[in-house]
Symmetry: C4
Subunit: 209 residues, 4 copies
């Protein structure tokens, strides 16, 4: 039996989801915007030299755009997930913190990729780091969702089991894609990067949620 | 027919606009505040040398101020737009993500402009990059608005068609201005920069929304 | 006479204050947190050398702390001000944007100050830049408040005239202090910096709002 | 006796807790995400050289992860604390500002630690700085909580005395741990760092709040 005081406390506590989402949004928004700081500002003087310098760092723009879109996909997935999650417990906070850690690491692995994409030698290691970052992010996202949805642990009562199942199936695609392309990077880094672009594009294409 | 559960789900989903706006605000706020990091801190010792070094990097202050105001205008427009938009769908999220990408690129093109504004040689390329960034931003903003307002797709029911039309007409001014000044930059970069200042000023002058 | 549709639109519009405050909070929070990036990470090896290098950059810690507290005071004032302001119009948005511009410039002038505080030569210019940044910030804050409170233009109906007057008087203290210490910097930069510390301390001492 | 106007003003004022929390969340989110900027992007060309360079900067990843988790723990504690705190007064704002200052300093001391963890000489000073930053953060957190909970000054009426007492006891563990490990760093920096990992892990293990 709940006393009014306890109910009120629960009422205050229940905004937990909201603050966790706000915190996650902030970290994701900062990580996505910090990406631009990793693009080197060329100091070449002269129109021709500057234009060439700007053009030559196309890997930086590629990395910026791909990471921006991928983090955007993570944000969208995170957002959708928390429309089904109604309550927060301690382990969910911890898992979410780990997810934020992997996301906020992306500007670093993007910078490493951009700095080593052009030369054939070095591209392999940079791509594995980059893809590995995406893979771990996708894995943690799946762990978080499975923890929250297991036996409907933290799920809102109005969400159907079928809906939960559908989400679980869709989310598995992420680690699968990234896991399969990581060995591909050992053979051809560019091929695996192409897959990353395709993965981001698939999520971005409007097929509804 | 909607069951209560579905209605509740819709209720939860409808906060989508709010979280999208919050996310956009965060990215815009970060991009606008990161601008200052691109201003070089002079290490010259001695009052005279320091004062000269500070004065000589006026292009950095110019770029900081112009980009700050322009991003501020984007924020205001984004804000007004979402007062009319009541619902969010997948493609709107994607278009908004693209808009955020172009906005968060501005600190980079501002830094390139600031580094090449003084010397006559190099100014052209830097101005085209800078103006191009603004042009693409204005274009994506227009695409987003037209997508949302086409056949009142995502518009709140209480917004009048006349209001929508007025907004559409006003928003077209952005890409028009930036599109026309881009070739102008080929003739005179300074003239086109003057237009950017005027465009920002026009939006900032209090003529209501 | 207002139709229900218009009332609803007004209802949506009235959240303007909230989004303006959220935006300002974000910019202020980012500016205050970026301060730490301006502190140089010493690379000296060896415990003694490292300890000495860390100790020698005390001006960076001083600048960090003083700017952090001063921006904190701006935040508190901004926050209090918007408890009285009930509505937002276009010019208020523009003035607030200018305020955010002066605040987000502080990490730069803090870095310049920290880099020139130790050597006697150069300290003068750095202090004038730093104090000038504070002075302009305080001035814009006053202009914003006077614009909003003039003839109760944007003030909530329940705020008393006496309360408005009290706030106006208190806020004038800011530009007065910073204005008077700017010439003082020409005589003794350290003396004027001491005043900045005192000003921040006065606002921080718990005498209520 | 309160007039309706005063009640409404109080109503508006009471959102103070919310804006203070939002501000704190923003600062913490930015500090936690800035950590990645302190990781150096290696420019070594060649797969082998790059892999070695990436592996050799393990102290940076260690510092990133440890500081990320520790700031995450501070965030969680701050969040829980403000579920009990119902009102904000001036000194609480000031104490919270000091807490934010110590948190936003962590990226700096993390960078110093990461740069001096490997070489035996220098590790001592870096660890003391790092641990000192954690110690001060934990102390300010305790001062803030004791200020707010003293005689239930700012505590919500429905929070039990036993609950307050429990929180007070738990929070004391932070400064105790960090205080005891600081002298330990003088003997063995690595041993004290191990304790930091353990402290973060203890807070992260799901034992509920």
């Amino acid at each position: 039996m709940l006393s009014p005081a306890v109910i009120q406390e629960e009422g205050r506590r229940s905004e937990g989801t909201q603050r966790l989402e706000a915190m996650s949004d902030a970290v994701i928004a900062i990580a996505i915007t910090l990406l631009v700081l990793e693009i080197h500002v060329p100091e070449e003087k002269g129109n021709e030299a500057l234009a060439r310098a700007l053009a030559e760092q196309w890997p930086s723009y590629f990395g910026f755009a791909l990471s921006f879109l991928t983090i955007g996909v993570v944000w969208a997935n995170h957002h959708h997930m928390f429309q089904d999650i109604a309550r927060v417990d301690h382990l969910l906070v911890v898992l979410n913190l780990l997810l934020m850690m992997t996301v906020s690491f992306i500007p670093f692995s993007t910078a490493v990729l951009a700095g080593h994409l052009e030369a054939e030698d070095g591209r392999l290691v940079a791509t594995v780091l980059y893809g590995g970052n995406f893979l771990v992010t996708a894995l943690v996202l799946n762990v978080l969702w499975h923890y929250a949805s297991w036996n409907r642990r933290l799920i809102a009562p109005d969400v159907s089991d079928r809906h939960i199942h559908g989400r679980s199936v869709r989310y598995v695609a992420g680690p699968l894609f990234y896991g399969l392309t990581l060995p591909l990077a050992l053979v051809s880094p560019l091929a695996s990067l192409t897959v990353y672009v395709v993965v981001a594009a698939i999520y971005l294409i409007p097929v509804g949620d």
